[in-house]
Symmetry: C2
Subunit: 122 residues, 2 copies
DNA sequence: TTGACACATGCCGATACCGGAATATGATCG
DNA sequence: CGATCATATTCCGGTATCGGCATGTGTCAA
């Protein structure tokens, strides 16, 4: 019975599945910025930023695959909009560090207070 | 006089200069997680996560170049610790969207109130 | 139906990145 | 000093990613 081969190509989570990878690209962040004031058609983004149309389309595809934008067809145009709910992974990730930092500060605080108490006793 | 050549290799901000790229890699996020409870030596990270030592060292290098971790030598070990303050660019980026979203909600709210007011008049 | 418009997709070359293996550096100990 | 431990760095092959260009797809208008 042949030994099954493992998939060794796991280097980096695919851009299409990882929200963090999706925003790693500066141009994609610019595309998101372009949508910050509301729904916008692809052509509008293309002229706002000065990027090629295929480039914008491809970035929109990536952003939409991780849920950061959604698309709506209107005639022959496609209107994209932000999906702020899908920023949640970022919020969660950040919160983890804020919390850990605060706990460390709290421990530091308690430690300092304890030092001070011991000092007062003498 | 020869025409100077432009640098066409601007595709992606170098991983060493951009916090967004630094946290794009899942393994690097795991390294950050490993440091969340405080200072830790490289070897400790290597055994906590199960990554190779060179891999951990290289990720630590990237993280340190964007300021997300700092290093302190103690004997022949190197103790790394989080530097959460350098998540600020990421926090700012996220905050921009929260703000924009809130403003849109406020405008929506005002609009709805206006509609209601006009309804009350009739 | 034909053509024009708006956008998406496929293909390509160049580059960047990742991980493994081997090796270099630097501190400690005997 | 030589050996060993802890870590950093270098080299390399495989792969992913990006952007440009050309082309495909679907919609509207005449």
């Amino acid at each position: 019975m042949p030994i099954p081969e493992y998939d060794r190509s796991v280097a980096r989570a695919s851009t299409t599945s990882d929200v963090f990878n999706a925003i790693a690209d500066m141009h994609r962040r610019e595309v998101l910025d372009a949508l910050i004031d509301g729904e916008k058609a692809v052509g509008a983004i293309v002229s706002d930023l000065s990027m090629s149309q295929p480039q914008v389309s491809k970035h929109l595809r990536v952003l939409s695959e991780v849920g950061l934008v959604r698309c709506r067809a209107e005639g022959r145009r496609r209107l994209y909009r932000l999906e702020p709910a899908h920023l949640q992974p970022f919020r969660d990730w950040l919160a983890k560090y804020e919390r850990a930092l605060n706990e460390r500060l709290d421990r530091m605080d308690a430690y300092l207070k304890e030092l001070q108490r011991q000092g007062d006793l003498q």
